[in-house]
Symmetry: C2
Subunit: 144 residues, 2 copies
């Protein structure tokens, strides 16, 4: 069984917040949008449908918990969820809180504007780890 | 219980292929990309996380079956799956087969180019209904 390792193209643009039972939870380093990325810790997986049925069900539980948390904590107008991965061959699912006032609204965010890195990334990580901490199955990363 | 009705903005740009136990299956009338849209038949639902847990699990089964079918029937390079819905308030989940040779590759398809309607829409519908017919829970629409 090959060990899971986060793809360098994903680690480069994100901060690792912690782990749910199946997925790593990453924060995208783009202050334009509250943007989390869930990465099932399964080596060699590109498509959601390649997960086993049990893993797909677990993914759905984790995705919905994160989506619901984002929607309620941020009073988002909409949550956008997408598994794209045309360029990065590791399955990763975007969860973006959208607002009618955000830079890209009403369009999808991908490719609209260059990322704006957070000025206070450590503070953002802490904020998200506290919110995700309300999910009983979340374990925060320690390498902040 | 309010009856489900497909939102007019969705019916306007699509053809109804048929039904899975939870979702309507629509074909997007854009010949640039093989593009299906799954619409859970639940009135008043905007976000995946608003479905019950059982419905979310059923959604995941249907989404994976459709995604796997598209990937294998078309020898797709990648499947893009997205729940966006910033403008259309009814939950609908895009399933797009992508190819390195398609018009938008490697970008997401939304908003890249105007839709190119199929010249032979009825033939496309029949083709998809035959493929989806290999899924035992699929019921084709009759109003072709």
């Amino acid at each position: 069984m090959i060990d899971f390792q986060l793809h360098p193209q994903l680690s480069g643009d994100t901060q690792w917040l912690g782990d749910l039972p199946l997925c790593q939870v990453l924060l995208a380093n783009d202050s334009r949008y509250p943007w989390l990325i869930l990465v099932p810790r399964r080596a060699g997986t590109r498509e959601l449908h390649e997960l086993s049925e049990a893993q797909q069900q677990q993914f759905m539980r984790e995705s919905s918990a994160v989506s619901q948390l984002m929607a309620s904590e941020l009073a988002a107008d909409k949550i956008n969820i997408a598994a794209l991965g045309n360029m990065v061959p590791q399955l990763h699912v975007h969860h973006v809180a959208r607002f009618t006032s955000d830079d890209a609204w009403p369009d999808p965010i991908w490719g609209k504007f260059p990322a704006l890195a957070y000025a206070e990334l450590a503070a953002e990580v802490t904020w998200w780890q506290q919110r995700l901490g309300t999910l009983v199955t979340f374990s925060p990363s320690r390498s902040n």
